[in-house]
Amino acid sequence: MSTELGKAFARAKARGEGALVAYAMAGDPDLARSVDVFVAMVEGGADVLELGVAFSDPIADGPVIQAAAERALKAGATLRRVLDEVVPEVRRRCPETPLVIMTYVNVVMAMGEARYAKLARERGISGTILPDLPPEESAALRAAFDAEGVDLIPLCAPTTPPARAEGIAKDARGFVYCVSVAGVTGMRAELPANLSERLDLVRRAASVPVVAGFGISTGEQAKALVAHADGVVVGSALVKAAHADGPAAAKQLCADIKRGLKR
């Protein structure tokens, strides 16, 4: 796996904390200002940054991220421009923080998987999450990514049967993204009761860190999960905060969640 991702999780662990994987939409409200959001999230304590690259038909996303994608597309945030204009700037301002791209398979296929993997490596991307690429369809992409040392980070869902979840965990690169709720991205007041068992099972099988994501928006929720996961992903809540009140609000929310992640 990418050494950068491994190190970031290890650093958090050494400090006695779960890692915060913070998501925002690259290009929302525009390319330059989204850089400020990413930087603010790192100042707030984010350990890994997840850069959303907009897709016109985001079937795994709820209304908040869907709307952010529409804004980003209007601002011209293509994968190419995110790699050329957003990623280098975030790297320059946050050299320690590993970056992960989250987008949809069609966006990567349009660029060409090998070409994407090469560019991603050159720009310093550690991993990629494609929520519409289940393991059965991922062989070719993963080979291309492996060749460049870019982790194809798999997702595991609440509906995934245990044996399949173990298979996904065993085979994972980077980290395992355990989707906490059967649904699309978006904030939830409550997380499913059996989430901790699922996280424990995946963690036993995985040789890489395991994070919980989807629906997490508060330090409280992070606190409840930190015993069962190496970290949490927070997306919609940060996107919403940044959209409403700018980078400082995203920074503040990261800090709140980081407090919850203290062990």
Binding site: A54, F55, S56, D57, P58, I59, A60, D61, G62, Q66, E70, L73, T78, L79, R80, Y104, V105, N106, V107, V108, M109, A110, M111, P131, D132, L133, P134, P135, E136, E137, S138, A139, A140, P154, L155, C156, A157, P158, T159, T160, P161, R164, G167, I168, D171, V179, A182, G183, V184
Partner: protein
């Protein structure tokens, strides 16, 4: 884990590109469908409902006046417009809703463009007593008011979708998002031979009744198979249904007609087989209308059922391998074909179907006399009356006003 799945692939196309949350449900569906196919009682029940309720077999009508006026091949109409609810869509929804019931699903969701699939799903749900929610682009809700009323009358909830182009593509996104959240007890009835595996196969199998009947009916009427079959292509379910049983018959030309909208050069069309490039949309790899960055483009057609920027993977494969010929018809072509068919055959075809008629004229002439051409009349035009009449009706024929 494993490499590309062979099941659900049509050459390079097909597959299952969906959130992991849905994968187990799709596997369950695949298993349940395979089991249902092995169960003679299930097949018998589908056949019974098609016979008693849908009104199958639908007729194969000789189109005498069109044949004469076009001066080429003998023209036959496969009358899916005479099926209950007025389009081929009912063949598929009866099958899938029976499958859902067999799987013990408690509620049904569907997406719809022209509204025909929504009406057909609402109808099957009413017949079998299942609650039904239909997602429909807000623009389509406006232009297909009759079908919105029909769905509501049948007891379904219609949910207008405001995102994106507010048409079929966005309705399908929304239905998928809702399905991800309610996958345990909800069955998603996809309306075309598109979407993730196993949908393209299931929908094609349920629609293949059209082609099977064409085989028997042409054998009975002319003592042989037809020389060509032509159908309009939105997602492609009526086309694959009519054409699939003839794939091995090299003597039968298979022709699909896409919406050229304002013209292929205008950028406003629905011609994904003609101008699309390989991509992933709504869970399968196929030909899609997209920009160089992989963003899906909005399709346009005067007919709500054809303005879809993708196409089912099996049709993409048939088109790429050359087994199916692809033609296009513009909005204006479809409108003039609508009146031509109305006034020569006494049939008001759906605007989708009108595209098939528009391209059939040239095909019939190319083929020449002594040949037999079947046009799949996918649906009737009642739902499109507002759209069509808004452009003004041409004067009556042969009567002094």
């Amino acid at each position: 884990m494993t490499t590309d799945t062979a099941a659900g692939r049509f050459g390079r196309y097909g597959g299952r590109y969906v959130p992991e949350t849905l994968v187990p449900a799709l596997m369950e569906l695949e298993g349940a469908y395979a089991e249902a196919q092995r169960d003679a009682a299930f097949g018998a029940e589908v056949a019974r409902v098609l016979r008693e309720f849908v009104g199958r077999p639908t007729m194969l009508t000789p189109a005498h006046r069109l044949t004469e006026s076009w001066g080429g091949a003998q023209v036959w109409l496969k009358r899916e417009d005479l099926a209950h609810t007025g389009a081929h869509k009912i063949n598929n929804t009866v099958g899938q809703v029976l499958l859902a019931r067999r799987m013990g699903k408690k509620r049904i969701i569907a997406e719809t463009g022209a509204g025909q699939h929504g009406v057909a799903t609402a109808t099957a749900c009413a017949l079998f007593g299942l609650p039904c929610e239909v997602f429909m682009g807000a623009l389509d809700v406006e232009r297909q008011a009759l079908n919105v009323f029909r769905m509501r009358a049948l007891g379904a909830v219609v949910r207008p979708v405001e995102s994106g182009s507010r048409t079929l593509k966005d309705a399908m996104n929304e239905a998928m998002r809702i399905w991800v959240s309610q996958v345990e007890d909800t069955y998603y009835v996809i309306g075309s031979a598109a979407g993730p595996h196993p949908y393209p196969t299931i929908v094609r199998d349920f629609q293949a009744i059209i082609g099977k009947e064409i085989r028997e009916q042409t054998q009975a009427a002319i003592g042989r198979l037809p020389d060509a079959i032509i159908a309009c292509v939105g997602g492609g379910s009526n086309a694959i249904g009519a054409l699939h049983p003839f794939i091995p018959d090299a003597s039968v030309r298979l022709v699909g007609v896409e919406a050229a909208g304002h013209g292929l050069q205008s950028g406003q069309h629905g011609a994904s087989l003609t101008l699309g490039t390989e991509g992933v949309l709504h869970g399968s790899r196929s030909l899609v209308l997209q920009d160089e960055h992989g963003q899906i483009q909005e399709a346009h057609s005067i007919s709500a059922g054809l303005d879809y920027p993708g196409v089912g993977p099996e049709l993409a494969h048939l088109a790429k391998t050359g087994r199916m010929e692809v033609r296009t018809a513009t909005d204006d072509d479809a409108l003039s074909a609508f009146y031509e068919v109305a006034r020569t055959e006494g049939i008001l075809p759906a605007l989708e179907t009108s595209h098939a008629f528009a391209a059939a004229r040239g095909l019939a002439r190319d083929m020449g006399k002594g040949k037999h051409l079947v046009i799949n009349c996918s649906g009737r035009g009642d739902k499109d009356v507002a759209t069509i009449s808004a452009r003004g009706v041409p004067p009556a024929t042969g009567v002094k006003s």
